[in-house]
């Protein structure tokens, strides 16, 4: 397993877990009047850091950002994001497991 993709996947997992928190927060505040939803975006930063190597990727910090203006909360879209986040998280865990499997295969010499 190359170092870069391991770092990249764990960073993406961190970001997705934070996004799940943000979605929970938005849904919990569905009944709050004039509530500004919060978002987590890290993909763009991650893509920017990717060519600079593993250290740059390690420095990427996903953050909670409050949506400015009158971006109203749509409960249905939040639910869609919730299931998308879950699926992407499991997909990344799967990729990570496969990479680990390859390493394990190399360590055991295919025994």
């Amino acid at each position: 397993m190359d170092a870069l993709s391991a770092v990249l996947i764990t960073k993406a997992l961190d970001g997705l877990a934070m996004r799940a928190s943000a979605i929970s927060q938005n849904i919990a505040n569905a009944s709050t009047p004039s509530y500004a939803p919060i978002r987590v975006s890290f993909e763009q930063e991650l893509r920017g850091a990717l060519p600079k190597g593993a250290d740059a990727v390690r420095l990427v910090q996903p953050e909670f950002v409050r949506m400015p203006g009158d971006a109203a909360l749509r409960l249905d879209l939040e639910m869609a994001s919730a299931s998308e986040t879950t699926l992407r998280y499991s997909a990344l865990v799967d990729v990570l497991s496969r990479q680990m499997q390859i390493s394990r295969l190399a360590v055991t010499g295919g025994q």
Binding site: S24, I27, A28, Y35, I38, V93, Q101
Partner: protein, 143 residues
């Protein structure tokens, strides 16, 4: 706060809101309470958790904002006046034969009830999603 705790706070708030709605509907014909007047419809006022001070401190320190769930700010009385009905024989009737009932809006309570039930479900779904994320995290490194 992690996602499951946030959803839990949402479930709690929506549950309390539902209780207050039930209380309003149950008392829509209560013309006398222990305080003397007719029942006053109540409303749950809720909003994001965490105090103003915490938010300000985080802003000043330049740290990232953290979601704090939702909490109940208070249960407030609504100012809707009373519904006066002419019932001269009623024990609570005034000198002119009018009884003051609380002005509970049936339609409003029902609409809020449906909305609250939906919000409760949404919190439950978000909680399930978070649980799935945690359980898939447990799969990391498994054969």
């Amino acid at each position: 706060m992690d996602a499951i705790q946030i959803s839990r706070s949402g479930l709690d708030v929506e549950w309390r809101r539902m209780e207050i709605i039930a209380q309003n509907i149950a008392n829509m014909n209560t013309s006398r309470t222990s305080s003397g007047g007719s029942y006053v419809p109540l409303r749950v006022v809720s909003g994001p958790g965490g105090s103003f001070g915490q938010t300000l401190a985080a802003q000043e320190a330049g740290t990232s904002m953290q979601p704090q769930g939702v909490r109940i700010y208070g249960v407030e009385q609504t100012d809707r006046g009373v519904r006066r009905v002419h019932e001269p024989g009623h024990p609570h009737a005034d000198a002119n034969g009018f009884v003051s009932y609380p002005n509970v809006s049936h339609a409003e309570e029902m609409t809020l009830m449906v909305k609250t039930a939906r919000a409760y479900e949404a919190n439950l779904v978000a909680m399930t999603a978070a649980q799935q994320i945690y359980s898939s995290a447990l799969q990391i490194g498994r054969q």
